[in-house]
């Protein structure tokens, strides 16, 4: 009698404890699938949509949020530069290369939790396509630095790690088929403050 009760308890403990623990572990620790990588940038086109796999969907609803729809745009994030070094706010980076077709794009710096960095005076740690200066015959580039820089400067404040968030608004990229062979700009480290 007592043995049967004990065995039933063991079964239930393994089932409920093991099931809950494994679900929690996967949602907390395993990186999401369905990523589209382009150079240092990563996007999750299916995040927060019914097309996402059950794990991504469960993870997403636990965190909440309001993801952009496919016709609205696509968000790329980078937490490492093109040489795979973690992005730091004490460093100066250059963004060079081509930008996918989009009606508008925005680029901002955020802390690892995704909150935009504090503005430097009245200057936000963010740029959009309408603010970019293009020079004749000079390739397009953005300087991301805590120190002022000529032309296109994205001002970074604070210290510690950061991530860069590149949002393409109204882009054929997110609805098209060519997500795999997408060319995104490179992130090159120029120097770091000691």
């Amino acid at each position: 009698m007592l043995k049967t009760v004990f065995l039933t308890l063991v079964t239930l403990a393994v089932a409920i404890g093991g099931g809950a623990a494994s679900a929690w572990m996967i949602l907390e620790n395993v990186p999401p699938v369905g990523a589209v990588a382009a150079g240092p940038w990563t996007a999750f086109p299916d995040a927060g949509t019914p097309e996402a796999d059950p794990y991504s969907r469960a993870r997403f609803t636990r965190e909440g949020g309001i993801p952009l729809g496919r016709s609205e745009g696509l968000v790329f994030t980078a937490s490492r530069d093109s040489a795979e070094r973690a992005l730091r706010r004490a460093c100066t980076y250059r963004i060079e290369g081509t930008i996918p077709a989009a009606r508008l794009w925005t680029l901002h710096a955020a802390d690892p939790s995704g909150m935009p960095l504090a503005p430097k005076g009245r200057r936000q740690a963010a740029l959009h396509s309408g603010m970019i200066l293009h020079r004749e015959g000079v390739p397009f580039a953005i300087t991301i630095s805590p120190h002022p820089a000529p032309d296109n400067w994205l001002a970074v404040t604070g210290s510690g790690p950061m991530q860069l968030v590149f949002t393409l608004l109204d882009t054929p990229v997110s609805t098209g088929v060519s997500l795999g062979e997408l060319a995104m700009p490179d992130i090159l480290q120029v120097r770091c403050d000691a």
Binding site: K3, L7, T8, V10, T11, L12, A13, V14, A15, I16, G17, G18, G19, A20, S22, A23, G48, T49, P50, A52, P54, Y55, R57, A58, F60, T61, R62, E63, G64, G65, I66, P67, L68, G69, R70, S71, E72, G73, R103, L104, T106, H108, A110, G114, M115, P116, Q124, A125, A126, H128, G130, M131, V165, T167, L169, D170
Partner: protein
Amino acid sequence: MLRLLYALLLGLLGAGIVHIAILFMLPAHSERDIWSRLSAAAPPYAMVRLGPNRLGGEIPAPVNPFLTAAACRFDLADGPVHVEAEGAVPFWSMSIYDSNGLNVFSISDRTAADGALDVVALDPGQMQRIRGELPAEFAQSVFIETGVEEGIVLVRAFVPDETWQGVVGRFFSGLSCTPRPVG
């Protein structure tokens, strides 16, 4: 000993079932998704501006510094929902989220006539009835047929810089979300 092994095996099988059950029940029972949080903060058809300083950070806000957003809840049982705004902003887009907070449909101002926001969301049955005779107030509208009965309409607008705050503010204060019962 054999019975203990049997109990453990049964437990592992149960763990698999519990794991899958949690995975599929989580979206419906989550309290952090936009639907749950908006339900707690505002009645249906009330347009709520989403921002870091509004409603004590209860509602998720766009993290992009150049985007602002407003959202309202709707129930198509009350009739098609009509979303309208006056004024022109450089860019707007609209999404429909279902009651689990998943993005099921989105459009941008490219789809709309003259870039004006005038959208009607309805279910297939209402679409059939409206096709018969188009009500005058829907003459210019973009129709979105959706399988979602209860959901959220979320409108985003692009704010290029501070000087646009007034224009975008007027766009959002003129934004309406109304049920329009048909027939």
